[in-house]
């Protein structure tokens, strides 16, 4: 029998965590935030067919960064779990917390049992009756579960995105303002305060609409997305008021009309 070299559990876990973290940090970012009209999910995604933002159930959405096949696997399992639960009990008995906990157990199990952890970070978002009742859970590759009320960011530049969101987030903001903030956060990941221009063809946007009965998930695409993109005037207007710093860096951004 071949003798195995001893490796300390700390070392194994550290290596796995580093492996997962390194690969996730290469991915593009996703922002999820609650606003007056519901929960807004915005992803930077060059593909129009391979989504990063999905519907899980009536009031529950899903967003992910990392390896597509792995989070797709988790998403499918979540839809199945939600549908089976709703079928055996009632549609109102499916909630975001149950799904998030099942994901946490699953990711935790994979992280400690398998040689390769899932290189994903996912969000389970549930829309409530009021913005304060919204549930946003962020789950990392090792099964850690974080309850992040209000807003969250995932992906390579999550920390710097979170700063932007923390500054501008308002539970009572309408959808358009929340979208402008999400866009501002996603385009600020260049580092050193530089901003990138994001156009509609690299954005994937969906909303869990608070006022909509039944299935609340709606994708905002095509013309609806064009209409939501902040135009030149409204951008300076909305940014000049709350935050003069953002307005000054705004001058570097190319004309948004081009999008």
């Amino acid at each position: 029998m071949a003798m195995q070299f001893y490796t300390s559990p700390e070392q194994i876990m550290r290596d796995r965590a580093e492996f997962a973290r390194k690969n996730i940090s290469r991915g593009r970012n996703v922002v999820v935030l609650s606003c007056a009209d519901g929960v807004l999910l915005v992803a930077e995604n060059v593909s129009s067919a391979l989504h990063k933002v999905y519907e899980l159930y009536d009031r529950i959405g899903f967003a992910a960064v990392g390896k597509y096949n792995e989070f797709e696997n988790l998403r499918t399992a979540g839809v199945r779990m939600a549908d089976l639960r709703g079928y055996s009990y009632d549609r109102r008995d499916v909630n975001a917390a149950t799904l998030a906990k099942a994901y946490a157990q699953t990711l935790g199990g994979i992280f400690s049992e398998q040689t390769k952890p899932f290189e994903v970070e996912i969000c389970v978002a549930g829309v409530g009756t009021s913005p304060e009742a919204d549930e946003l859970y962020r789950l990392t590759f090792d099964g850690s579960i974080n309850d992040e009320p209000g807003y969250l960011a995932m992906g390579g530049a999550a920390d710097s995105l979170k700063e932007v969101l923390a500054e501008g987030h308002d539970f009572e903001a309408p959808l358009a303002d929340a979208f402008a903030l999400a866009l501002q956060a996603l385009s600020s990941d260049g580092g050193n305060g530089t901003r990138r221009e994001l156009t509609t063809d690299v954005l994937e946007v969906a909303v869990l609409e608070r006022a909509r009965p039944g299935r609340a998930f709606r994708r905002i695409e095509g013309l609806a997305l064009e209409a939501l993109m902040p135009s030149a005037e409204t951008e300076t207007e909305s940014e000049a008021e709350p935050d003069p710093e953002a307005a000054s860096s705004d001058g570097e951004a190319p004309d948004p009309q081009e999008s």
Partner: protein, 278 residues
């Protein structure tokens, strides 16, 4: 992935890639929850559950109209006066059931979820034909208990978003207990009063009928069915119970407001008071 140490994690079957069908998934993880999968002792069980009766569906210039009476019977006993037997299957299609009421409603619930589940997993809905075929497949699983007296027969109609033009978009599919599927050209009816409802529609239906007119003749055909079939309930003004009428058009599937149906039904009753033979 053994999962021994993590009892709360998602079971392996959930994580397996492959099917987009909820009923196939159910067959793997919880077959006892599928209607028609329960073992029955030999014998005929037609009398153990209520029977749902007449449903009609018509093609119109804008899509389809489907209507159902409100009665369920057990032999010569009226077990329900207010049962609803017409449902939206999804955003663009409708399904009505006749036969064993308990199983039929369960089948509809599973079918609605089947369509929704597919849409969520695949990111796009099934085509109208695909939806109808899926319903036929689900019916086939019921054949065993259907032969023991617990038959369910659905009627499916919808607006085909892939059709070349709106007048061609309305489609109706009927089924038999073995899962046979038949596309209907103009109108169809199922259930115990279907012979009388169809005779009524035969005299009143014309192609490219407007949705409003189709609602009228659908309610009238149910009146005719109730007139001659004891298991079909007529409009009931004393209890304020009227047929359930739904439409599927370019705007999606929706239920016609009960007040509107009540007005139509009262007009039918008034006309028949003048002339009992319509």
């Amino acid at each position: 992935m053994t999962g021994q140490g993590f009892p709360g994690k998602l079971p392996n079957a959930y994580m397996t890639a492959g099917t987009s069908s909820f009923s196939e998934f159910l067959m793997q993880v919880a077959p006892e929850m599928l209607p028609g999968r329960r073992p029955l002792p030999p014998g005929d069980f037609a009398s153990v559950s209520a029977h749902a009766t007449t449903i009609v569906a018509l093609r119109t210039a804008e899509g389809v109209v489907m209507a159902g009476d409100r009665r369920a019977t057990m032999g010569n006993y009226i077990s329900s006066r207010d049962i609803e037997k017409v449902f939206p299957a999804d955003g663009y299609s409708l399904v009505g059931i006749a036969g064993t009421a308990g199983l039929g409603i369960e089948l509809v619930k599973l079918y609605q979820l089947e369509l929704e589940h597919y849409e969520k997993i695949e990111g796009a809905p099934l085509t109208l034909n695909g939806k109808a075929n899926r319903l036929a497949t689900m019916l086939r699983g019921n054949l065993g208990i259907a032969l023991q007296g617990l038959a369910v027969v659905p009627l499916f109609a919808g607006f085909d978003v892939d059709a070349p033009s709106i007048p061609e978009a309305g489609k109706i599919y009927s089924f038999d207990v073995v899962g046979g599927i038949y596309a209907e050209r103009d109108y169809d009816s199922i259930g115990s009063g279907s012979i009388f409802a169809k005779s009524s529609l035969k005299k009143r239906y014309h192609r490219d009928i407007s949705t409003d007119d189709a609602v009228k003749i659908a309610v009238e055909s149910l009146y005719d069915a109730a007139d001659d079939d004891s298991a079909t309930g007529g409009p009931d003004p004393t209890r304020d119970l009227y047929p359930v009428v739904m439409t599927a058009t370019a705007e999606g599937s929706k239920r016609i407001d009960e007040a509107v149906v009540a007005d139509v039904a009262r007009a039918v009753i008034a006309a028949r008071t003048e002339n009992p033979y319509g």
